[in-house]
């Protein structure tokens, strides 16, 4: 059975990337996109290219850092990793996301 694909909700891509990098350690852009797709199990239609402006945005905020490195199959690629500041930010955003979800859930259940 096919799960209907939905767009990436606005503003969640940054959180996804941060979480991915936190749990997987250092990754290149392709790796990040792949990992998000895997976790979403096909429920999210990710335009892979969009991770790059997001990565740049996060880097400018100082939440992730990047450097050139060599991939498993010996190819040159740019690797991204969460910074200490990024971890703190992730914790805050996770907590805030949980709260939002809980609120929405309660609302939806109450409405039923």
């Amino acid at each position: 059975m096919k799960v209907p694909k939905s767009e990436v909700p606005y503003g969640t891509l940054d959180l996804m990337i941060l979480k991915t990098l936190e749990s997987m350690g250092s990754l290149h852009g392709y790796g990040i996109a792949r990992r998000i797709e895997q976790v979403a199990q096909g429920s999210v239609a990710l335009n892979q290219g969009t991770v790059y402006p997001a990565l740049l945005r996060l880097e400018q905020k100082g939440w992730i850092s990047s450097d050139w490195g060599v991939s498993d199959n010996n190819r040159r690629a740019r690797y991204y990793a969460v910074t200490k500041q990024g971890r703190r930010q992730l914790m805050e955003e996770e907590a805030s996301w949980q709260r939002t979800v809980a609120t929405i859930t309660r609302l939806l259940e109450g409405a039923q």
Partner: protein, 851 residues
């Protein structure tokens, strides 16, 4: 914090752009996907194709990345700047005209503000300058005088509101004993002067009042003693008296007579109360204002007058601010007036640049139309003109500051002699601030006016009434008419001044100021010295004739002596007239015409009959319908009778612009005075004779101090020195007026050009061409008239401020106003003539299509 960091990162990214990074990453990414597909069995080509599809829109990602990386606003500004610079460089005429106009406007504004700040605002270089006042005595007619020594002592004893008094007597001393004899400015100062004026010795010490010691200025020290410490303790001779140098100090240029040497002085109560020769500067008690201090002085002066009715009856004391005293009484007003003119000029120059912008927006309408059509937003186009205005304004301001640096230097060199405070002029941070303000002002004005043009908004030159543009013309006319009126009045004055006949012939005349050591000479010796000197000099081959006078032309100060006419009672009021003591050669040497009677001869000596020659204006004033020859006047207080033997032509020998005053001439042999000036009519260049003259005089007295000056130079200095401001202002006003005229021409003809389409429609509807032309010219005239209606009344109000600068010119002269009107009506007609003729001759069809 993180948002600030992000901003910094973005700004940094603008400059250290790594455009390949994102491209490399995208390429890599696609390679990764493709590699996966290849592993799952696709061909290389299929895999790449699928990978690209999966990645998404590469260009969109690149675009988004680029926008994230860097600041679009800053980049737009950078693009605007680059574009503006390109387009300004493509139009060098327009660019340089605008830049120079703005630079001259702002440069003159800054220069004048620097002068104002030095004259009016910068604190004077004395301790507690706000508490310093000059104290003068005032005679019953409110004429201001210096103090007499007993009055000074009385003031010192009685005043409570003045805590310390500095007092000095101006002097001109002959310095001998070290090199050539030299006349230098000196001041005899009371002991407290050093403290009140904050004068401290830089080498040695200051003197005690009881000593016969002097303090010299730093400039004299370096000129005469090469700044050697050995100068301290050195003996010098001043006017034949011996002194010892005990110290060197920086002496103020503003006060103390600009003296190079200070001598000790202790005022004596035994001196005459009528000898007014002490300059007095007081330090007010802290917290006491000028008003209460003046009230106290009134009481003190009244009590002194009660005690000394014979000498002080009717006299009072007057406080004058040190600044007014240093600058002269009318300087403040003059400076404000010049400032007003320059500020007007600056606004006008900005207006002219705005006018140029308007004209240029016509030329650019195709470009702007194209850009609008291609989707440029109005905001972006406006930002573009704003940028261009800012660049022009900045260029103009930078050039203006450079001009101001030169202007300040020029004023320091040329005007500091007459206004010592100008030596303190500097271009400082405040002025740069004003320059920046100027940039903002002219930028906004430029953008406003190029933004006003209807073409800007893509319209097709529909000639709706543009209030902003019409207002620009009205304002330009009104400002320019004020300047033109001022320039006209001043130029008229200047021409009148050049044409003045001084009453004598100054060409080829050499002036020699002679100071003799007073201790060596009594009256008789002095008279014989000058008789001998004039006889010897007359024999020199380069010299035609020689005379001598106690008051040399254009270097003298006013003189007055009182007298009565014979037959008037002893109780009648005295008359007063200027007087000169001259040798027989004086009149022929200067070419002063004898109108009646005879001139002096050597026979009019000490023991001969006492005689006097009067000037024409004196003869007219005192003997209006009689022949004064043979009449007698009673000289001075003693009332000794002098017979009038001749009448000579009037002289303007104090200043060319001062009308001749009634003057009495006495033979030097009967009225010895010192110092004297020789006048020599030479055969060639006057200065060439000076060596021979020096040799002859020094062979009579080696200690005589001499100063040479061609009379023509003294005369032109006398015209120029007080008139530098007049000439400068007249030249400036002329430039301003021309600038205004050109600017106005441009704006008016732009306005007519802009109406081409309307004109076409009217012609097509059957309007006769002649009526059309007249209509166009009438519109321009109407605008100019509105400008004049504002400008001329303002000019009338402002012109009363320049009355003091005018010479034989009335600020209300109707011709001046007529001239202004004619000039502006002329400009309006000239500016609309060509365009209106072209417009009315156009084929209506093409006029309607005209863009």
């Amino acid at each position: 914090m993180s948002s600030l960091g992000a901003l910094l990162a973005r700004i940094q990214a603008m400059f250290s752009r790594d455009p390949d990074r994102i491209n490399a990453e995208i390429e890599q990414h696609i390679d990764f996907i493709a590699a996966d597909y290849v592993r799952s069995g696709m061909t290389e080509e299929e895999a790449r194709y699928a990978a690209k599809r999966e990645f998404g829109n590469v260009t969109a990602v690149q675009q988004e990345y680029r926008e994230q990386n860097g600041l679009p606003i800053l980049e737009n500004i950078w693009l605007d700047v680059k574009f503006a610079v390109r387009s300004l460089r493509r139009n060098p005429a327009y660019t340089s005209a605008s830049t120079v106009t703005l630079a001259v406007g702002l440069g003159s504004l800054i220069t004048v503000l620097c002068a104002m700040s030095a004259l009016l605002w910068k604190p004077l270089p004395f301790p507690h300058p706000e508490r310093l006042v000059v104290v003068k005595e005032a005679d019953p007619r409110a004429g201001l005088w210096s103090f007499s020594e007993p009055d000074l002592l009385d003031l010192q004893d009685r005043t409570r509101s003045i805590v310390a008094l500095a007092a000095y007597r101006r002097g001109l001393s002959v310095l001998t004993g070290s090199g050539q004899p030299e006349t230098i400015h000196s001041a005899s100062v009371t002991p407290s002067t050093f403290a009140v004026l904050g004068i401290q010795s830089i080498v040695g010490r200051v003197f005690e009042p009881s000593e016969k010691n002097v303090v010299v200025s730093r400039s004299l020290w370096s000129r005469k003693w090469q700044e050697s410490p050995a100068a301290i303790g050195q003996a010098i001779t001043l006017d034949g008296e011996n002194y010892t140098i005990v110290g060197v100090a920086d002496l103020p240029v503003d006060l103390l007579n600009g003296a190079d040497i200070l001598l000790p002085l202790l005022p004596k109560a035994t001196e005459s109360r009528t000898a007014h020769d002490m300059e007095v500067i007081g330090q007010l008690r802290e917290g006491v204002g000028q008003g209460p201090a003046q009230a106290e002085l009134n009481g003190i002066a009244a009590s002194i007058a009660r005690e000394n009715p014979r000498t002080n009856n009717g006299w009072s004391m007057r406080l004058v601010s040190v600044r007014d005293y240093v600058n002269g009484p009318r300087t403040g007003r003059t400076v404000w007036m010049i400032f007003t003119a320059v500020a007007l000029f600056w606004v006008l120059s900005c207006g002219n640049v705005a006018g140029l912008q308007l004209a240029r927006s016509i030329a650019r309408r195709h470009e702007i139309g194209t850009r609008l059509a291609l989707g440029a937003s109005r905001k972006r186009l406006f930002a573009q003109t704003l940028t261009e205005g800012a660049i022009l304004s900045s260029l103009g301001a930078a050039l203006g500051v450079i001009l101001a640096l030169y202007g300040v230097e020029a004023i320091r060199v040329f005007a500091a002699e007459s206004l010592p405070r100008l030596a303190h002029m500097r271009v400082d941070a405040t002025m740069i601030g004003i320059a920046l303000f100027g940039v903002v002002f002219s930028t906004l004005l430029c953008a406003l006016f190029s933004g006003r043009s209807p073409e800007f908004y893509g319209g097709r030159g529909i000639s709706r009434r543009d209030r902003g543009r019409d207002a620009l013309i009205v304002v330009q006319v009104s400002l320019a008419s004020i300047l033109l009126l001022g320039a006209g009045l001043l130029l008229h004055s200047f021409v009148r001044l050049q044409a003045v006949d001084p009453g004598f012939d100054a060409e080829k005349v050499l002036l020699v100021h002679v100071s003799l050591e007073t201790a060596e000479y009594d009256d008789a010796r002095r008279v014989s010295f000058f008789r001998e000197a004039t006889e010897r000099l007359a024999r020199l081959p380069q010299v035609e004739s020689v005379g001598a006078t106690n008051i040399s032309p254009f270097n003298g100060t006013g003189t007055a002596n009182r007298f009565r006419l014979e037959g008037e009672g002893m109780s009648s009021e005295y008359h007063a007239a200027a007087w000169r003591a001259v040798t027989p050669g004086f009149f022929p040497t200067l070419g002063i015409p004898l109108k009646q009677g005879r001139l002096f001869t050597v026979a009019d000596g000490d023991h001969a009959a006492q005689v006097v020659i009067v000037s024409e204006s004196m003869a007219r004033k005192f003997w209006p319908n009689e022949d004064p020859i043979g009449k007698r006047l009673l000289w001075g207080k003693s009332g000794s009778p002098k017979t009038i033997i001749g009448i000579v032509g009037d002289l303007r020998d104090l200043a060319v612009d001062t009308p001749p005053v009634p003057t009495m001439f006495r033979p030097y042999a009967q009225l010895s005075d010192a110092p004297m000036s020789l006048v020599l009519r030479t055969k060639g260049d006057p200065t060439a004779a000076s060596e021979g003259v020096r040799h002859e005089i020094w062979s009579l007295d080696r200690n005589a101090a001499l100063e040479f000056q061609p009379l023509s130079r003294a005369m032109s200095d006398s015209i120029m020195r007080p008139r530098v401001s007049l000439l400068a202002f007249a030249v400036f006003a002329t430039i301003a007026m021309l600038t205004a005229a050109f600017g106005l021409y441009g704006t008016i003809s732009y306005r007519v050009n802009q109406r081409q389409q309307e004109i076409g429609i009217r012609l097509a509807l059957g309007c006769p061409a002649g009526a059309m032309r007249w209509q166009i010219r009438k519109d321009s005239l109407w605008l100019v008239c509105r400008g004049l209606a504002i400008g001329l009344p303002l000019a009338y109000l402002l012109s009363t401020f320049i009355t003091s600068l005018l010479y034989e010119t009335q600020p209300t002269q109707a011709e001046a106003y007529l001239l202004v009107m004619v000039v502006f009506v002329g400009i309006a007609l000239a500016a609309s003539f060509g365009p209106s003729r072209r417009a009315s001759r156009m084929d209506p069809a093409s006029a309607i299509r005209y863009e």
